[in-house]
Symmetry: C2
Subunit: 255 residues, 2 copies
């Protein structure tokens, strides 16, 4: 048995994206890598799991010299399949991404990349989701690779806290342009959605989800603020969604 | 224009389920109801949104005398379509459910029912997700209807706090068996997953996600505890996932 750490790598853009390839390049310096990623893009899948259909799991030849699989499910399905079917143990580290496009602020809730990392936190595995603020298929991931190298080294030191994962976002640009790494809180921001309504060949309407993201956060310790200043943002992320500050208000509704 | 409150009702089991029908029966006493729900079961979809496909939106005849639509998307898509395409305004109240099956503890992350309510909270609409601990298609929703009646009346009083929704779970049983309503925190519990591996007609494997849920929470103020005592649990729920207690630890990783 190897003494190297076992590192699970997944993503939501699918196994053939440049983002996961860039992350695996870094991860393999640190340990034995298992890649298990969706066979197609799964952006916006959030914490979805596949309960009404069965899943397929297939070997992938895309990562030479590595153990790699694709599955037909979501990023969270990938994490569950890796732990409970392929490895039959928990990896020492879970990495997700690098996402093509940023996942700052409340976008964490829609993000398949980050939901895989949150699932890792639920399994008590040190977990990091990486996103680059660039949607291009051939984006420059070098700055994110440097950030990943730094954070992976820290995460493997052995003192990583329990049941927490990291939401890491990196601004578009070269490694030289990156100002540094800042630990932040999730910014308070929302989508002002709209739908692009079009007509099909039978004159029946269909709708594309679109919109503008609005930052409602005035504070200087948010991930959006750090990103605007040219820093990579790191948000420690947990999964207790209880709103403790309104508990007393709602207690008056008890029966 | 009506002075009645405008109430949006959605779910994740699909528009033809008994759960949403039971919730609409209660909601229509309180205001003008718009139903916009998925055209098929969307359990386990979490906070997924549809970004890589267009959506269809169709009138439904299932709710006599009401404005009702189905869409091809997820519960969160339904909320967005209702606000930004059908209503062109925010409803005064958003109700989701009644889910066939409970959504206590960390199941909130996987739940389409609750993700619709969380989306409502992000839109700053008073929002409540209801779930009954009974998977039956013909489950007895009367106890949950009573709880809904109580909570909807409170939510419409005008002093509902900002950016918070409620995760309401009701134990299986008759209205007489229900002990009351308790405001709780989200219990600390997890799935011990496993996959049921089967072989298809070509001897190729496929996998069904299954598992056991384990309650790791010893406290008496959790939703799981309240449910086990025979109470309906109400967890005030927010969407800032920042892990504030580990911020100082991770600050040492800054560069």
């Amino acid at each position: 048995m190897s003494a190297k750490p076992l590192i699970l790598v997944t993503n939501d853009d699918g196994i053939s994206s440049k983002g996961i390839r860039s992350l695996v390049e870094v991860a393999r310096f640190f340990g034995d890598v298992l890649v298990l990623a969706p066979d197609k893009p799964q952006s916006g899948m959030g914490h979805a799991i596949t309960v009404n259909h069965p899943l397929r799991l297939d070997k992938s030849i895309l990562f030479e010299g590595l153990n790699a699989y694709t599955c037909t499910g979501t990023p969270v399905d990938c994490v569950k399949l890796a732990i409970y079917e392929v490895l039959n143990r928990k990896p020492d580290l879970l990495l997700s991404g690098i996402n093509h496009g940023e996942n700052t602020s409340t976008n964490i809730l829609y993000s398949g990349t980050m939901s895989a990392a949150v699932e890792g936190a639920m399994e008590n595995i040190p977990s990091i989701g990486f996103s680059l603020a660039d949607f291009h298929a051939d984006a420059d991931f070098r700055a994110t690779q440097l950030v990943a190298q730094e954070l992976i080294a820290n995460a493997l030191k052995g003192d990583y806290p329990e049941h927490v994962c990291l939401n890491v976002n990196v601004p578009k640009g070269t490694p030289e342009e990156l100002k540094g790494i800042k630990v932040c809180k999730q910014a308070y921001g929302f989508w002002e959605d709209r739908f692009d309504k079009r007509l099909d060949q039978f004159n029946k309407p269909y709708y594309w989800l679109t919109g503008e993201f609005t930052d409602h956060d005035k504070s200087e310790d948010s991930d959006l603020y750090a990103m605007r200043q040219g820093y990579a943002s790191v948000v420690p992320t947990q999964f207790d969604m209880t709103c403790y500050k309104t508990m007393n208000f709602f207690k008056t509704w008890e029966k």
